[in-house]
């Protein structure tokens, strides 16, 4: 055991006596006049219910969380009275700018209200009635195999940081738990789609996994968030939009529609976090630029991996015939340019100005020649 409670309570006479006193009716009521703010929160808009924003009041509000959280390291709910010997939970993220984004509470509320269930919300039987051609189904199976790798890495990212974030950032942690469920659900949906089509899963991608592991294991949360939330989330949003547009079945279109909703939230948080970080830590601008300089190559791993590129060409062109592959190549060229353009738009809008001028990616993208 890494931790034992500070005492064996079964052997502590004073503690047992205190409990006995209460059960004999001698209440201490030491908590009765807690030194805390008295408030009565109400929904601002009854149709929307009681949101976290409605409770952004006084010392309870997230607006009043300071940049440095120095006085809380335990499980105490923000705003309640601390007393006695509280455990140190060992949080390593205690600065608001490292994690916060102004849209955290909105994204959390949206996440809950847009819940969906892959088991029943996708019209799976459509694939029984209208099975795809074998090459199209194989391409889908490969694409969904890749998407599961992305979903798992994203799931790990949110999970690994939740327990080390100070409990005062309760809305932030709640949002990240919602992200965890989002990625578990997308992972489920992608797996179900791949297997239901009959082609099984396909090949895991060394290129993709090597790149994603580099992003996942960023040294700080804010660096990892730029990679996983903004870059990967944004990339998947564009990919899902493209796949929805060229979807070979109603099942794929429906699935990609839900996936777009979920991935859009990840990208939105990633942008908001980077913006908040740079607004409050402007001196870190160059350090973040340098981090992105070093890790941006992973974007190319995603765009260029044959396990991603080739099935996308087949799906976009509608098959493996020469003309289909040609049409698919044209469509995928556009997709790649779109993914790159949106990536730079997002990251620059979040505060990494002139990123596209500094990045080595545009020069590579410029070399793309669509099939004649």
């Amino acid at each position: 055991m890494a931790f034992y409670a500070d005492k064996d309570y079964t052997q502590d006479e004073a503690v047992l006596e205190a409990a006995n006193q209460v059960m004999q009716g001698n209440l201490s009521l030491h908590w009765y006049d807690a030194n805390t703010e008295k408030i009565k929160g109400k929904p601002a808009d009854l149709r929307r219910g009681l949101t976290y924003r409605d409770l952004d009041i006084g010392g309870y509000g997230y607006s009043s969380i300071p940049e440095y959280v120095r006085t809380s390291q335990s499980m105490v709910a923000r705003g309640s009275e601390k007393w006695g010997k509280l455990p140190d939970m060992g949080y390593v993220i205690n600065r608001k700018s490292e994690i916060w984004s102004d849209n955290v509470t909105s994204l959390y509320e949206e996440d809950k209200s847009r819940r969906w269930t892959p088991a029943v919300d996708i019209p799976w039987s459509e694939l029984d009635a209208h099975p795809l051609a074998p090459e199209m189904e194989a391409a889908c199976a490969q694409l969904y195999t890749f998407l599961q790798e992305c979903a798992l890495v994203s799931l790990h990212f949110a999970s690994q940081w939740v327990p080390v974030i100070n409990q005062d950032f309760i809305e932030q942690k709640s949002w990240m738990c919602a992200q965890m469920l989002d990625w578990a659900r997308l992972n489920e949906a992608f797996r179900k789609r791949a297997l239901y089509g009959g082609a099984g899963l396909k090949r895991a991608s060394v290129t993709v996994e090597q790149g994603l592991k580099e992003w996942l294991f960023a040294e700080t949360f804010y660096q990892g968030s730029v990679s996983i939330n903004l870059s990967l989330g944004g990339f998947l949003l564009v990919l899902c939009r493209h796949a929805a547009a060229f979807a070979p079945s109603r099942v794929d279109r429906a699935l990609m529609g839900y996936a777009m909703q979920d991935t859009a939230r990840q990208a939105s948080y990633g942008m908001g976090q980077l913006r908040y970080f740079l607004q409050h830590r402007p001196a870190q601008l160059e350090a973040i630029q340098e981090y992105v300089d070093n890790t941006e190559h992973v974007m190319l791993a995603l765009l260029g991996s044959p396990e991603v590129l080739e099935p996308l060409i087949i799906i976009s062109g509608g098959g493996l015939e020469r003309e289909q592959v040609k049409a698919g190549g044209v469509a995928v060229s556009k997709f790649i340019r779109m993914a790159a353009r949106e990536y730079f738009e997002r990251i620059e809008a979040a505060g990494l100005s002139r990123r596209s001028a500094r990045s080595r990616i545009p020069a590579v993208i410029d070399r793309i020649e669509a099939p004649a």
């Binding site: 055991m1 890494a2 931790f3 034992y4 409670a5 309570y9 079964t10 503690v15 205190a18 409990a19 209460v22 004999q24 009716g25 908590w31 009765y32 807690a34 805390t36 008295k38 929904p43 219910g49 976290y52 499980m75 709910a77 309640s80 007393w83 809950k112 269930t117 892959p118 996708i122 790798e149 798992l152 790990h156 690994q160 939740v162 327990p163 309760i170 965890m180 659900r185 992972n187 489920e188 797996r191 179900k192 297997l195 239901y196 009959g198 099984g200 090949r203 895991a204 060394v206 996994e209 960023a218 890790t295 992973v298 190319l300 260029g304 044959p306 590129l309 099935p311 592959v325 099939p371």
Partner: protein, 381 residues
């Protein structure tokens, strides 16, 4: 960076050239099309339930086929995909099935996804408008909610901490654990929101409970963590929720407790099935878990001694601070305490650990408490 990919893709001329060539010429490699994987054709066993994870329990893709010791896949590849040389190691700590598995895991997850609820809109907050609870009840309710917010916090951090440590082959377990983290975040939200709508705000922290609860997170193995979190702590909390629903001062509070009970019962269900699986498939773990339970049951003692919780519970149960209220509150609280302990040992017995009673100090306390209660005319059932 703490991990570097085996190559920098922007600097890998061959990689970039091949990529550009493929797009330009349309000459596809297509070797992935012949991946050495199984072809299966799942069907929906019950179309009303849709396509479930259980429907995918086929061949090498199925959870049934996962071996006791996962030796082959340590990457981010989904179970059943073709594994090729060069995949990175995801660094899982838990690669043994009996350390994480539970009969019905996939169904617990499916249920969690389909029963997601929204604290913001599924609780009739508007009904609190104009409700003025007596000061004693309002403060006691706020104190209870303050404590529950603390409890739910550790129940969020703990599954989140363990999830990335679990081998990716156990995709259904990871999915369930993710759903649990979200459930607990929702509970934290519910209890915080309720405390902040009483007019009294949050109240006092519960140091003794916190000190005892920290050990839930810092267990040596997933199984030990699960026994302490899912079985002991959440089992206790489930009983607490049931009693809290009974003594809730408003319909809004009853609604909150009914909804959180659904979720908590699922977590306890997983914990029981997992523990049973451990005892049946990893028998040498029995003694380890006994030792861990010795510590976990310490939580129950700490909880009983945390007067800020017990006292608020007594006031809510009795309906006030007058002598007769307190007497009634103590009777109900005594029943609650005993019920909590009784159910704890019932669960352990059902899982296959009937001998726990002989070893447990908590069971001795239960028997003494039960005898004293009966002598005072308080019947447990």
């Amino acid at each position: 960076m703490s991990y570097l990919a085996t190559r920098n893709f922007l600097e890998d001329k061959d990689f970039v050239d091949k990529w550009l060539y493929t797009i330009r010429t349309g000459e596809l490699d297509l070797s992935w099309m012949n991946a050495n994987t199984e072809k299966v054709k799942p069907h929906q066993a019950n179309p009303r339930r849709g396509l479930t994870y259980r429907d995918l329990d086929l061949g090498s893709y199925g959870f049934t086929a996962v071996p006791e010791k996962v030796r082959l896949n340590r990457s981010y590849a989904p179970r059943g995909a073709e594994l090729v040389e060069g995949l990175p190691d995801a660094q899982p700590w838990v690669s043994r099935k009996s350390e994480v598995w539970a009969f019905n895991t996939e169904s617990y997850y499916e249920e969690a996804v389909s029963r997601q609820w929204n604290v913001t809109t599924d609780i009739p907050w508007e009904r609190l408008d104009g409700v003025e609870l007596p000061e004693t009840i309002g403060k006691a309710l706020s104190q209870l909610m303050t404590f529950l917010t603390e409890v739910e916090m550790i129940a969020t951090d703990t599954p989140a901490l363990w999830l990335p440590r679990i081998n990716p082959e156990f995709v259904e377990v990871k999915a369930f654990i993710a759903s649990q983290a979200m459930d607990e975040a929702r509970h934290t939200e519910a209890f915080r929101k309720r405390a902040l709508t009483t007019g009294w705000g949050l109240m006092k922290a519960s140091p003794m409970n916190e000190m005892a609860l920290k050990h839930l997170r810092d267990a040596d193995s997933f199984s030990e963590m699960s026994v302490a979190l899912h079985l002991v702590a959440e089992g206790n909390v489930l009983t607490l929720f049931r009693f809290s629903e009974y003594l809730s001062p408003t319909d809004v509070d009853k609604r909150i407790f009914r909804l959180v009970m659904q979720d908590e019962a699922r977590h306890v269900g997983y914990g029981m099935q997992h523990f049973k699986y451990v005892l049946e498939n990893f028998p040498e773990k029995r003694e380890v878990v006994h030792a861990h339970l010795d510590e976990a049951e310490n939580i129950s003692f700490a909880g009983a001694a945390a007067t800020e919780l017990t006292e608020s519970f007594i006031i809510l149960a009795g309906g006030g601070l007058k002598r007769e209220n307190i007497e009634e509150g103590i009777k109900i609280t005594t029943r609650f305490n005993l019920k909590q302990m009784e159910e704890h040992f019932e669960r352990l017995e059902k899982c296959g650990m009937p001998e726990r009673k002989e070893r447990s100090k908590l069971f001795q306390m239960f028997e003494m408490g039960k005898a004293a209660a009966e002598a005072a005319g308080i019947r447990l059932n």
